[in-house]
Amino acid sequence: MEFFILLSAGLANGGYYALIALGLVLIFKAQDMVQFGHGEVFMIGAFTAYTVFAVVGWPYLVAFFAAVLAATVVGMIVERWLIRPIAHMPHMTLVMVTVGLSFLLKGAARIEWGKDIYTFPAVFKSGPIVIGEVVLMPQQLVLVAFTLTLSVVMYLMFKYTALGKQMRATSQNMTGAQLSGVNIGRVFSSTWAMSGAMGGAAGALSAPVLSLLFPDIGTFILLKGFAAAVLGGFGSVVGAVVGGFAVGVMEKFVGFYIATALEHISAFVIIMLVLIFWPKGLFGKKDVTRV
């Protein structure tokens, strides 16, 4: 029976890994770069939700939207004032800037929250839902449902809407897209806004599940998101979601059946093994090198 308990716990964690991976994949698809500051976007979401819900005492729904709004605004500001002026530079430069950004945001959060650990109070007063021996927290169900809905929306958006098509065009060939009348500034702006919104939503939704918050949480979460995205094959929306749930479940199984201490590094082992032996992941396309 422990199999199902582990499975449900793993899927619940996988929910926010998938959300983080989605945010990373979005930016990767549009700009062919990895956002190392995405963990801090999550942190901003989580701490905004904490402030509104636990400190101010407003309803959780308000806290959720505040978190999404805050993270979206941060994403847009970063894109407009930091990334766009240097968008033409090599990818290494862009990635390095996001590494700097990550530490800038983390340092800023430290001014207010220091090195302490904060407890996020329970949102749903009703107890856990028990099916057989499987115990499910309502918050976990909300998280998983939200992730699944959002990923379907994202998939449809990329496939059918004008904005989604413009995003795909821009990532394939920026100049070509520009020549065809795509406003790439708008594309980048909306990409970062959506990525930020997802990071913020992930923060607000998973804060009650994690229940412990600290300014360093971003790095920890970001690496899980990397694992999910890499497993799914960086650049695939479906892959990010499947990868997220897979990493969540795998972690729980490794932690239970092999050794508890291994739970936290299984994500890193996944990253390394997948990249070494199977770099295109579950749903990725093969990288073509052009001369």
Partner: protein, 349 residues
């Protein structure tokens, strides 16, 4: 005479060594400690510079190599092994691990390499924290007082001589190496792998060499760092340490030997000067990293080079002497003002 000419003279290394040996006469204990750290960071920064600035591989693993070097040196030294051998062992183990980490680099490019190495770095911190029997876990351990040929190095000044000599020798080796075919191969790989392989550069071999050397410098630097601060904790070798390395290379100047020295000097003394603002340390490094990448991509060394204070680092020295007909051609060209000032146009690697 331009100031930069001073650095290019034949006797500059000897003079610099003399300068290094005179420093302790002018310092107190605290100042000496900071200078020790600067020298350690010169080596560590050089490890980062080699892999990032010269070979152009976006590796996130150098903080882990530094940790491996620091722990290996300290642990081996407790077994009564001479300090220089312990340092070498730390460097060699880090180099070996770096070779293994570099293996995926032969297949992976850009962001994928960054992700693989960042995962490796986190795993190393985890191992250092959880391997209690060897590393004493997350609380860290005291690094033993180094003994140099039966003479115990108790004070910072005594340690300084060990650090300074190791550092000087290794920097000299590095400088010679970068002026050789290794340096040229690294830069060729950085600029364009396709072109490099078309020119007969064995890319897997040179990438592995770059990783090994980078690991070696980071490992020895880490070992010296452990000696200098006398205490090692796993948390010291996490992502933040890596950001310090990145900032050091970026502030100093990417792909420049002088850059490493300038960067180490600035970034090691800066936190000491801004002691009251320790809460803002993470922010400071983040902001510095962003500012330098965006506004001063060639770093302080580039800035100083433009003002002729530091010499340009030219990849291929000595063609003037070696190939007479080229020299003649250059002279002729100079007469007609064709190739005049080729050096000034900055054919800098």
């Amino acid at each position: 005479m331009r100031i930069s000419a001073f650095f290019e003279t034949r006797w500059f290394p000897a003079l610099f060594l003399l300068f290094l040996l005179v420093i302790p006469l002018t310092t107190n204990n605290y100042f000496q400690f900071v200078i020790n750290l600067v020298l350690c960071y010169v080596l560590i920064g050089f490890g980062q510079q080699l892999i990032l600035g010269y070979a152009g591989q976006f590796s996130f693993a150098n903080a882990a190599f530094m940790g491996i070097g620091a722990y290996t040196t300290s642990i081996i030294f407790t077994l009564n092994v001479p300090i220089l051998i312990a340092l070498m062992a730390g460097g060699l183990l880090a180099a070996l691990v770096a070779c293994l980490v570099g293996l995926p680099a032969l297949r992976l490019s850009r962001v994928y390499l960054a992700l693989a190495t960042i995962a490796f770095g986190e795993m190393t911190t985890w191992v250092l924290t959880h391997w209690n029997s060897v590393t004493k876990g997350g609380d860290g351990m005291y690094s033993p007082v180094p003994v140099f040929f039966g003479y115990s190095l108790d004070t910072d000044t005594e340690r300084y001589f060990l650090i300074a000599i190791v550092c000087f020798v290794m920097v000299m080796i590095a400088q010679r190496m970068l002026a050789s075919k290794f340096g040229r191969a690294f830069i060729a790989i950085r600029e364009n792998e396709m072109v490099a392989s078309c020119n007969g550069i064995n890319i897997p071999l040179y990438k592995t060499i770059a990783f090994a050397l980078s690991g070696f410098y980071a490992g020895v630097g880490g070992g010296l760092y452990a000696i200098a601060v006398n205490y090692i904790v796993p948390d010291n070798y996490d992502l933040f340490q890596l950001v310090i390395h990145f900032a050091l290379v970026m502030v100093g100047g990417l792909g420049s030997m002088y850059g490493v020295i300038v960067g180490a000097l600035v970034l090691t003394t800066l936190p000491e000067v801004l002691r009251e603002f320790q809460h803002y340390q993470e922010m400071t490094y983040g902001v510095l990293l962003i500012l330098f990448i965006v506004f001063i991509p060639r770093g302080l060394a580039g800035f100083l080079k433009d003002r002729r204070i530091l010499p340009r680092e030219i990849l291929v020295h000595g063609w003037k002497e070696e190939i007479p007909h080229v020299r003649e051609a250059a002279k002729t060209a100079a007469v007609f003002n064709v190739g005049a000032g080729a050096e000034d146009r900055g054919e800098e690697h």
